[in-house]
Symmetry: C5
Subunit: 107 residues, 5 copies
């Protein structure tokens, strides 16, 4: 699964029938610094996530499982809302992928 | 799912039988600035999309589900036509992935 | 699906039994300028494609469906031979992903 | 499968029911030099891995199989804990992807 | 499928039960110049491949099919050992992805 930030919504009147009634959220994939990693994606919300929240999302069949729609036109879904990320600061330093200030972005 | 722009069509006389009768559209994946992100793809249309439209597309089994062809030679399909993208301008600014002028490209 | 050019063949005497009897083609993924995009892949031919041809290929279960081998060791297959690509020149220009000279590479 | 280092944990109170009771580990994908390769991912632990350990992880259905949850909202899982990596130094040199000092990072 | 070079092995005492008894090989993905393309992966051998050999590998369900373990924690497997790569030199030149000296690396 990946870490992302919900940053918007999509309105699409014409869409696959299995997407009707689902909230379609624009989510920005993030790295451990909580900075963008690749392009934003559109995904189905399955846990009541809102704009601004830090989330876990899944792809493929895992997303359809979360949405309870194994036959759906869904390939990405939000499957959790992150309360806290507990990282080992020493490894973040070795790898140069964090600076201990990530928590500023958590709220 | 991903955001893309339909920018053309493909004609292929010799093709898998499960692709016969399907409209094969060339779609350019886009980021939130609505600028290209990676190479254009060929996908099946399932919602009546046309060249120039901004769409949502799905990959893998989700694409076959949308095309109602679980046994088909399909791995990408257009599953929605975007009316509006509602993004949180403050996050776009923090992330440097938008400038508030995205709407110019919507039509 | 993706656009690619068949540029060779692979001979592999020792291989999975589900690959025996299949033509294994080396295919270069291309962007809309018909220039290389990423590394060449090895795929099963299902439509009678030959070296030099511009093709559509699919990945995952779509490739196994095309090869009629749902239990096969296949994750990529050629599923169509491209006759023509009809692209909207104005979008190619906006996106900077084509220059109107793509047809030179079609034959 | 990929090589990664477990570098933290995620707490998510609201999450898909199939993730309840699973340990969600933040894992950094690594290359053969054991340096970061792409963004960290969130995955389910199925082998009793802990922070700091070098692991093998799998994606997609393989991850759900390891977690014994074929209907779960899981697309990545840790499936092994690495004791040793035995690499052919001559190829690492030819490819420029290792320097013989990888073992320093193993513990 | 992809082209790769087997460059080592992994020892993992604690691992998913479906991986027990399988040879876990470290394989470096290669481009047509037979130079590295992305990070090395860990995969199951299904054709008797050894360190130093040039191989074809598959991902996802294709890998589980090759390993005869549809319920396994496997997402990559070696499915063939390459004897020869026959490429069209003219296209390699057009695309700038080969120089006719690839054979030096074949043995």
């Amino acid at each position: 699964m990946n870490i992302g930030r919900v940053i918007g919504t999509v309105v699409a009147t014409r869409k696959d029938e299995t997407l009707i009634g689902s909230k379609l959220l624009i989510t920005q994939p993030l790295n451990l610094r909580l900075f963008p990693e690749g392009a934003a994606r559109v995904m189905v919300d399955t846990v009541g996530a809102g704009v601004g929240e830090l989330v876990i999302y899944a792809s493929g069949a895992a997303a359809r499982n979360a949405a309870k729609r194994s036959e759906g036109a869904i390939d990405m879904a939000i499957v959790g809302i992150i309360d806290t990320l507990n990282t080992d600061k020493s490894w973040l330093t070795v790898y140069g992928i964090g600076d201990g200030k990530e928590d500023e972005f958590l709220e």
